[in-house]
């Protein structure tokens, strides 16, 4: 009895203490779990959604895409009765089944052409209108040609992802592969007289290297020049405008030059005349004159002008190289080179301007810039030469050092030799 009373007493004392560690009642601590509640509601709603009974794989793909987040469900595109768990009833009514290309465009347009729905997501409602202007849209919508792509050929219909998602087929690094699915298919392109291989050319071009190797997502892909929904090859007269969207200064210089003034009135010039289109390349400085021969007669005044432009560029490039080498020597020699480095950077900027300015073919302006570059180079090289002379003078310091050292060696050796003779040893 006493033992039981003791146990009871201990229990009464310990119970409140243990209560500190015990989980409190639900109302004791307010925890807001809106996400969890939504999940519960969502799970309940899905259990009542008939499509998922058979199409669980599509559900997983759909959940990864943006449409799932926006509440777009199976029946919004495919129709049918999702409240039914019987296949016959579920596939009854307005059920559309797998959508054809034309139906896909209509279904997508039902939301994506509605500005009221698209405004909240910051999306344009004009994609379908743009598609109608494109060659793809003309073939598909006007001519009913099913070779042409519809929305779902570029955008995965179930896992629809934003274009800045690296998994998306329309992400900058994937878009050329998406286009290549059709444009690298020779049998598909042959009836339309469209060549293939553009994707491989783009990959090895300056733009492709910038995109794929330097991870510069501002570099243009297929859609950068041709447009996406309104995809069309630019006309000859449009080329400099297309390139000029990024290369603003080059376009301005080009327009000021003879080629820019002739554009659209003569043979296809534009930027692609020298730089090509899909395999866009910088023209090396020592190849400028060779490029002119592509259109102009060798020995003509135009090619001679090209040669002069090339000479100005080569001289400036050589000055830049010598200045960089001199700066390197100054650094190695331990000199403080912030001024020289600044001058070299300024010269780099001037050289970039010169490269842009060559599109004007204005030799006078180019010479002015080239002189500025040569002047900067001369200053830097001058300092490097002074430093080299100082280093050479240090070697002259070795003459007295060795004279003194050999003198000591000679005198001490002579003394050693004298004392090492037996007579001298005895005397010592």
């Amino acid at each position: 009895m006493i033992r039981q009373a003791c146990f009871f007493g201990v229990a009464v004392v310990l119970a409140p203490l243990l209560g500190l560690w015990a989980p409190g009642p639900v109302g004791a601590r307010t925890i807001e779990l809106p996400h969890a509640v939504n999940l519960q509601e969502s799970n309940r709603a899905e259990q009542q959604y008939g499509c998922l009974v058979c199409h669980a794989d599509k559900r997983r793909a759909h959940q990864l895409g943006v449409h799932s987040d926006r509440g777009v469900r199976c029946h919004d595109c495919h129709g049918g009765d999702p409240s039914s768990f019987e296949a016959v009833q579920a596939h009854g009514g307005n059920f559309k089944g797998s959508l054809g290309k034309l139906e896909t465009v209509d279904v997508c347009a039902s939301c994506h052409s509605d500005p009221d729905q698209m405004r909240q997501y910051g999306l344009s409602a004009g994609q379908i209108a743009e598609l109608r202007t494109s060659r793809h849209g003309q073939l598909l919508l006007d001519e009913g040609n099913l070779d042409a792509p519809s929305c779902a050929d570029c955008h995965d219909p179930h896992t629809t992802l934003h274009s800045d998602d690296a998994r998306s087929g329309v992400h900058p690094t994937n878009i050329s592969a998406t286009c290549a699915r059709c444009h690298d298919d020779e049998s598909l392109m042959a009836p339309y007289g469209i060549p293939t291989g553009q994707v491989a050319e783009h990959r090895h071009s300056a733009h492709g290297i910038a995109l794929f190797e330097d991870q510069n997502f501002a570099a243009p892909t297929c859609v950068g020049c041709h447009g996406s929904h309104a995809a069309l090859p630019p006309d000859v007269g449009e080329i400099s405008n297309v390139c000029g969207r990024c290369h603003v200064n080059v376009r301005r210089a080009f327009d000021a030059g003879p080629h820019g003034r002739m554009e659209g009135r003569a043979a296809p010039l534009g930027c692609t005349g020298c730089h090509s289109n899909h395999d866009t390349e910088r023209v090396a400085t020592d190849r400028v004159a060779d490029t002119c021969v592509g259109c102009h007669e060798p020995g003509s005044s135009e090619t001679l002008l090209g040669e002069e432009v090339e000479q100005v560029l080569l001289r400036a490039e050589s000055e830049m190289g010598r200045a960089e080498e001199a700066l390197h020597e100054l650094v190695r020699g331990g000199h403080e080179v912030s001024d020289e480095r600044f001058r070299l950077r300024a010269a780099h900027t001037e050289f970039r301007t010169l490269e842009t300015l060559q599109h004007t073919l204005d030799l006078e302006q180019m010479d002015d810039l080239a002189r500025l570059i040569a002047s900067a180079s001369l200053d830097i090289r001058g300092k490097a030469e002074v430093s080299a002379e100082e280093r050479w003078e240090r070697k002259l310091f070795l003459l007295p050092v060795w004279f003194f050292a050999l003198g000591i060696v000679f005198l001490a050796g002579f003394r050693l030799r004298r004392i090492s003779t037996p007579n001298a040893r005895e005397t010592h």
């Binding site: 190695r332 020699g333 403080e336 310091f397 060795w402 003194f404 050292a405 060696v409």
Partner: protein, 412 residues
């Protein structure tokens, strides 16, 4: 010839004496008076005369000069190091510009900087030559084992001097070479992590590392080196120079330190100093770009013999080759414990001979390999922690932090 020179010098001296004015003479007399007072308290003349008259065994010759050369180079390093420390500033902002200033603005700054660099190379060769002479004549055996042990520790001290001094110019080559070495140290079993942490004082080579290396280089290691040097000289003086094998003691009194050995050392010292100055003037240590942990240099250019050896080891045998060779060096410490018979020929001690040959020839071989490799791209990578430090927070992250979004906010 010598007589003529002496006569001529004597004539010049007497002319000088005759033409010197009274004030200089009185100054000299005062110095003499002062010296006389000091000499009566501390018998300097007597000690000097005793030291000069000390006779060394007849077998001590030119090949015993390497120890003296190492000491001479150590003194050169001390003097040039003190001159460098007048101008050098050990901080990541000022180290590089101060080295630039020493090299280009300070009168003869280039000379004492490059003398310091080249003496640091030559001293390693001198010590190894000295050690090789001691090793192959069996002079490390009792009773001279203490002298050998102190000598090996002095080698380690010199290596530590070079290792800590290598970072001080704070250019890209110094920075990334030290980073590579620290990576190797970090991978050393058992003690590696702790040792690397102690030396760097940070998760990567940084300002904390520069401060530590500077403190070790100019405070800790010099005291340790002076202590060991004094001990080395005392022990060498006590036991004398080991005779060559088969030497039979005779009644020969030996040769006096002065003039025989002193003149020998004067000749060797003059040549060594002239060589060091020549190397400094003809092959100055270039300076790389300022150190930055955010950018890897195109190549690492070595300026110290031990870095060349390490480079040769790591590139040909990997990290374990470097660790193994270091362990071989440590084996030399315990050599006198294994081989204690003073009279035995080294040829019969195959294992001992093998360890010694492997170390000395291996050093030369890997030095050659390292020089052949020359400039190499660093194998070290930029630490993710350094990149994180430089990373700019993305707008999404900062927005969610500021807005206190309940889905992204962490519960305390």
């Amino acid at each position: 010839m010598f007589k003529q020179v002496r006569t001529w010098l004597g004539q010049v001296g007497s002319d000088l004496r005759e033409s010197t004015d009274a004030s200089l003479l009185s100054s000299l007399r005062f110095l003499g008076l002062l010296y006389g007072r000091i000499d009566r308290t501390l018998p300097i003349d007597q000690a000097l005369r005793k030291a000069w008259a000390r006779r060394l065994p007849s077998y001590v010759g030119w090949r015993h000069s390497f120890g003296g050369i190492a000491y001479l180079l150590f003194m050169v390093l001390v003097v040039t190091g003190v001159l460098l420390s007048f101008y050098y500033r050990p901080s990541i902002e000022e180290a590089y510009p101060s080295v630039q200033y020493i090299s280009t603005e300070v009168p003869f700054g280039w000379l004492f900087r490059d003398m310091h660099v080249w003496s640091a190379n030559l001293i390693v060769l001198a010590i190894l030559a000295h050690m090789a002479r001691v090793f192959f004549t069996g002079a490390y055996r009792p009773p001279r084992e203490t002298s050998w042990l102190i000598g090996v520790f002095l080698l380690f001290i010199v290596l530590a001097f070079g290792g800590t001094g290598y970072l001080l110019p704070w250019d890209q080559w110094a920075y990334w070479t030290t980073t590579e070495v620290m990576n190797v140290v970090r991978r050393t079993p058992i003690v590696g992590g702790t040792l690397a942490g102690f030396l760097t004082g940070d998760v990567f080579v940084s300002g904390a590392t520069l401060s530590r290396f500077f403190a070790l280089h100019v405070i800790v290691l010099p005291w340790a080196a002076f202590g060991l040097l004094v001990l080395h000289f005392v022990v060498v003086r006590k036991h004398g120079t080991a005779p060559p094998r088969g030497f039979v003691a005779d009644e020969s009194p030996g040769t006096p330190f002065y003039p025989d050995h002193l003149f020998r050392m004067v000749i060797v010292s003059a040549l060594v100093l002239a060589i060091a100055v020549s190397l400094a003037a003809m092959f100055p240590r270039a300076i790389g770009d300022p150190a930055t942990p955010f950018e890897l240099p195109d190549g690492l250019v070595s300026s110290w013999i031990v870095v060349d050896v390490s480079l040769g080891l790591i590139r040909t045998m990997g990290v374990w080759g470097f660790v193994g060779f270091s362990a071989l060096g440590l084996l030399l410490v315990i050599l006198p414990l294994v081989d204690r018979d003073p009279g035995a020929s080294l040829r019969r001690k195959t294992l001992v001979l093998g360890v010694g040959l492997l170390f000395f020839l291996g050093f030369l071989a890997f030095w050659t390999v390292g020089r052949q490799i020359g400039a190499v791209p660093p194998s070290a990578v930029i630490e993710s922690s350094i990149l994180d430090e430089r990373a700019v927070p993305t707008p999404d992250t900062s927005d969610s932090e500021q807005s206190g979004d309940p889905e992204t906010r962490q519960e305390p």
